[in-house]
């Protein structure tokens, strides 16, 4: 059974919500932190509701609305999100107040909005969607787990169109703490939200299919990841030779993982555009879908090789902190 990507939406450190092919102009990183370029959220959210939404909620709701608009869908059969950090900023606000006010007189808004499933809940509230609603919090595999859940539900036939997304935010505190751990010596901190309408029937805007998702947790070596890759491709009836383009999670400096995966293939790097965060692969899937749709790629992201004249199959390979590896296969439809 084919799973079509009927709609996509991305709010990212590039102007991906502006309606251009990829973005109006590439925004390079300044320093070691990339912040989302906020679109005008009031086009999707009533001003009375916006006031209770922290940044990540607005990012998520905006990306979800963009994907629904593209798919021409107003009521999905379920909403599935993946997030590692959840509503980190509101969690910080609430915990800070708990400490400062000695657990007295705590305001309800930060508490209500600080759970990981707030974005999925807010999207459902705005749509009036009472269907399946689930959020996966699996660190660097959060988005992939959401995709796997969606894939299984669609194949079971209990849903025809699902809204699936991945999102994470940076806060001042999280950036400072992770920076002290030395996390951003080689990477740029990032954030973003990307949503997709996945369906078993091809919509008018669909140009790609989600052909497979594979995760590998703490692989022993690069050979283990390559075995997982070959297994994923075989399941989709493809071989390594069929992959026209790689989308890799490296942001400039290759490591052994990306070097092993990237041998001999043209490749794009997506973290040069969005930075490093646990659900960055959602941005990669948005990018790969656009590449398949437009049959072109942003020149700023080309890591190696020349783009083929026809791109049929794209393999996204990402790892988060060397422990959470994932492979997402998109094919043209």
């Amino acid at each position: 059974m084919k799973i079509f990507i009927n709609g996509t939406g991305s709010v990212s450190p590039q102007e991906t919500a502006a309606g251009a092919a990829f973005w109006p102009s590439f925004i390079p990183a300044e320093g070691n932190r990339r912040k989302v370029v906020d679109p005008d959220y009031k086009q999707w959210i009533d001003i009375k509701q916006i006031r209770r939404m922290s940044r990540v909620i607005k990012m998520g709701v905006g990306a979800a609305q963009l994907s629904l608009q593209e798919a021409g869908l107003w009521q999905p059969d379920g909403i599935i999100t993946g997030t590692a950090y959840g509503c980190l900023d509101d969690t910080g606000v609430f915990i800070k107040k708990m400490v400062e006010q000695e657990e007295q007189m705590l305001t309800p808004t930060a508490f209500i909005q600080s759970t990981h499933n707030t974005v999925g809940g807010q999207v459902a509230l705005l749509l009036g969607c009472h269907a399946y609603n689930n959020t996966f919090v699996h660190r660097g595999h959060s988005f992939e787990s959401a995709l796997l859940d969606a894939t299984m539900i669609l194949r079971e036939g209990t849903a025809k169109q699902l809204l699936v997304g991945g999102l994470d935010e940076i806060t001042h505190f999280s950036h400072a703490i992770l920076e002290r751990f030395g996390l951003f010596r080689h990477h740029v901190d990032g954030e973003g939200a990307a949503f997709f309408v996945l369906g078993t029937v091809q919509g008018p805007a669909a140009s790609a299919c989600l052909a497979g998702v594979q995760t590998v947790y703490k692989p022993a070596d690069t050979a283990a990841v390559l075995r997982a890759r070959d297994q994923l491709l075989a399941t989709a009836g493809l071989g390594w030779a069929d992959i026209d383009l790689l989308v890799l999670g490296q942001d400039g400096t290759a490591d052994a993982w990306y070097t092993a995966m990237g041998t001999g293939k043209p490749a794009l790097g997506f973290k040069q555009a969005c930075g490093e965060y646990p659900t960055a692969s959602a941005f990669a899937m948005w990018l790969a879908n656009r590449v398949l749709s437009l049959q072109q790629a942003p020149p700023e992201l080309v890591l190696q090789g020349k783009l083929p004249s026809k791109i049929n199959n794209i393999l996204i390979y990402n790892h988060h902190m060397g422990s959470h590896h994932s492979l997402i296969l998109l094919t043209v439809c």
Partner: protein
């Protein structure tokens, strides 16, 4: 004069506490309804206002049934604060 200052302070505090973006103190009428009409506040906002009274004025709303009367407008909140302060004095 004291009542006017209290009303002015409350408007600023309400905007801050409820994160009423794009609302200025002068947009809130002294006697304008806060819930349903006017600012269109809801039950979560009511909780935020109760916390506001505790934090800024040290006043607890003991009886929830008094809520609709107290939170009818900025002026009724100011009157409630004045009454409570007088009772505490």
């Amino acid at each position: 004069m004291e009542m006017e200052k209290l009303i002015a302070d409350l408007k600023v505090q309400i905007i801050e506490q409820l994160n009423l973006q794009e609302v200025k103190p002068e947009d809130i009428g002294d006697d304008a309804p806060l819930f349903k009409e006017g600012l269109g506040l809801d039950s979560i906002d009511a909780l935020e206002l109760i916390v506001l009274l505790q934090q800024h004025y040290g006043i607890r709303v003991a009886n929830p049934d008094d809520g609709p009367r107290i939170f009818q407008s900025v002026r009724t909140i100011a009157q409630f604060i004045t009454e409570q302060k007088a009772a505490q004095a």
